[in-house]
């Protein structure tokens, strides 16, 4: 177990900056998820922590000691790769014991450790199989077992669930989280799936274009996004984003949307009259109300415990989530009102959140 500190970390390939000025402190035993769209630099950042890529600028500290120049094998870090990278010519048992054999651990001890970890991951009956004889989920567990056996200071996961089907992904998410909670090893996990990030992380680091957009606990990012990118990226279904202009009517701060609707916002919103803004409202914070703004229903998706409604506000798509059964039909006009307390405002030019 260890603390991991990134201070102004940057990585360049030639003249191209992959990421710059990344600073982050991962506490001992914490599960941090790096999330962002493809090409944002999250995997490269993970690989620089692992030592598979050189660091161009900044400092990497593991347990307070500078690790920039240390080769991967001396950083005491174990990594689970996206395609698992299980050695195809070795059995499951040999795969899991590989690092211990390299370290010169006596064979009986290797066998014992591998058996213990295999038992915890339900792999005992598969030890003599080769990777090609395993299912996707089994390979995933073997990859985790190979990392666990080393009892490293830090776990790194590089999109380990991206090759699995949806159902297996949900199951393995739980298994990874449970494993990490059991061993309490400091973990950095990379994914492009914000649902994975929300469900697994102690803290999430949202990345975009080589920069950190926001760092925080899942619900902090969900309820208080710092900017438009985080607001749109985190949450499923995504936050509704409605552009407009700040105005005042009868002493009440409102946003006149481009679609012609009027949204009431908090009286202390720090934006000048006429400022171009983007209103953000989560689907579950839009209520059907008689005095609401009119929207045209375009699709109804009953999910069982709730119903997702897609509608048009002018030409702008909106999503609402309602708990009760929807009796309206596609094409009907509904009236919806956002809950003012949950209305987010973002400066349209900079994307930054405008908070009172």
């Amino acid at each position: 177990m260890a603390e991991l500190t990134l201070q102004g970390l940057g990585k360049r390939f030639g003249a191209v900056d992959v990421f710059r000025n990344i600073s982050l402190e991962v506490e001992d035993g914490e599960f941090v998820v790096l999330v962002g769209p493809s090409g944002c630099g999250k995997s490269t950042l993970l690989r620089t922590i692992a030592g598979l890529e050189e660091i161009s600028e900044g400092h990497l500290l593991i347990d307070g000691k500078r690790a920039n120049e240390l080769p991967p094998k001396t950083r005491d870090i174990a990594m689970v790769f996206q395609n698992y990278a299980l050695y195809p010519h070795l059995t499951v048992e040999d795969n899991m014991g590989f690092s211990l054999r390299l370290a010169g651990v006596p064979t009986p001890q290797i066998r014992s450790k591998v058996q213990d970890v295999a038992r915890s991951l339900r792999l005992e009956t598969l030890l003599h199989r080769r990777p090609k004889e395993l299912s996707g989920g089994q390979r995933q567990r073997v990859a985790m077992g190979r990392a666990l056996v080393r009892a490293p200071k830090v776990f790194l996961f590089d999109e380990p669930l991206s090759n699995l089907d949806a159902k297996l992904r949900t199951q393995m998410r739980g298994e990874i989280k449970e494993m990490q909670a059991r061993v309490r090893t400091t973990t950095v996990y990379v994914t492009h799936d914000q649902v994975e990030a929300m469900t697994m992380a102690d803290r999430i680091v949202v990345m975009n274009g080589g920069r950190v957009e926001q760092i925080g606990a899942p619900m902090d990012l969900y309820e208080r996004p710092d900017n438009l990118f985080v607001a749109a990226f985190i949450g499923s279904p995504a936050m509704n984003l409605i552009p407009g202009q700040v105005s005042t009517e009868g002493g009440q701060r409102v946003v006149l949307t481009d679609a012609g609707a009027k949204l009431k916002c908090h009286s202390e919103v720090p934006a000048l009259e006429g400022t171009r803004v983007v209103c953000g409202i989560r689907p579950e914070h839009l209520d059907i109300a008689e005095d609401g703004i009119p929207v045209t229903l375009r699709a109804i998706e009953p999910m069982g415990s709730e119903t997702h409604l897609s509608a048009w506000l002018g030409e702008l798509p909106l999503t609402l989530i309602v708990r009760e059964r929807c009796v309206a039909k596609v094409g009907d006009v509904l009236r919806v009102a956002p809950r003012t307390a949950h209305l987010h405002l973002f400066d349209e030019a900079s994307g930054a959140a405008l908070r009172h």
């Binding site: 692992a50 598979l52 991967p72 990594m79 790769f81 990278a85 590989f98 690092s99 390299l102 370290a103």
Partner: protein
């Protein structure tokens, strides 16, 4: 006009396959049939099956050409050459491919360009160098020769295969604590098994069957290989072809046997190498 095989009907494809097989099978048939005939029958009816098979051609060929000793020489040359070719070729290709620098790319190009240069160009100066090194007459002259001549093709085959291998295996090994050499020895080289079998079979067959180079370097010595030993039956004025063919059949048996066991891997290795 399209020559796409899929456009031909199934019977046409079948006929093409039979004709191709016949093209390959006919020389083998002739080789075996002629090895069981005496000179008279060979002249009278060369293509027909032997009326009274002369099995003694085989025992005579074995005894008179000292095929037992020649067999051991051939095996030694093939084994020693293959060991060096496989080890140096695989390791060299690995370093050149994975380093990825301009220098390594240039070296790779130079090495592979050696494939287009016919070895006959360097035959005489090479012989002179071997003579100076007192290797002529020793099987080591052949080992050195084959290791050099076959290296460009070997490196080419290995490089293609290694390029197609995901880097993640080597990265995982580095994360597990392996040094550069351990990554190659414990992870990469075992994964090169399909292409190694291709390399072994292709180079092994060539070295086993080669006639000119052993004739140059081992003629008259006690270490003659099988092709040179069989050539002893070819006289200036008369040739006992029955013994020649019997010797050739005996020489082909080990190669054919090895191929029968390894053909699946040979095809897999070739496909993987070309894909890379």
């Amino acid at each position: 006009m399209s020559t796409d095989l899929h456009r031909l009907g199934p019977w046409t494809r079948e006929l093409a396959a039979v004709l191709s097989t016949g093209l390959v099978a006919v020389p083998l048939y002739l080789l075996f049939v002629l090895s069981l005939k005496d000179q008279a029958e060979m002249t009278r009816q060369p293509l027909a099956l032997p009326t009274a098979p002369v099995w003694s051609n085989y025992s005579r060929a074995y005894a008179e050409a000292l095929l037992g000793d020649a067999f051991m020489s051939s095996v030694a040359v093939v084994l020693l050459s293959l060991i060096f070719i496989v080890l140096a070729g695989s390791l060299g290709a690995y370093v050149l491919v994975r380093r990825g620098s301009r220098l390594s790319n240039a070296i790779f190009f130079v090495v592979v360009a050696g494939m287009v240069i016919p070895f006959q160009l360097g035959m005489i100066p090479l012989y002179q160098a071997m003579a100076k090194a007192e290797l002529v007459g020793s099987i080591w002259s052949l080992v050195v020769f084959y290791s050099g001549v076959q290296m460009p093709f070997t490196v080419f085959l290995y490089a293609g295969f290694i390029r197609a291998m995901p880097l993640a295996f080597e990265e995982a090994a580095r994360m597990d604590g392996a040094s550069g050499w351990q990554v190659f020895r414990l992870v990469v080289f075992p994964m090169l098994r399909p292409i190694t079998i291709t390399v072994v079979v292709l180079n092994g067959v060539f070295i086993w069957n080669d006639f000119l180079t052993p004739l140059l370097y081992l003629s008259g010595s006690e270490s003659q290989t099988i092709p040179v030993a069989v050539y002893a039956f070819v006289g200036q004025y008369a040739t006992d072809w029955g013994l020649v063919f019997a010797g050739l059949v005996l020489a082909a048996i080990p190669v054919l046997t090895a191929y029968l066991f390894l053909q699946r891997h040979l095809i897999a290795g070739f496909a993987g190498g070309i894909k890379g």
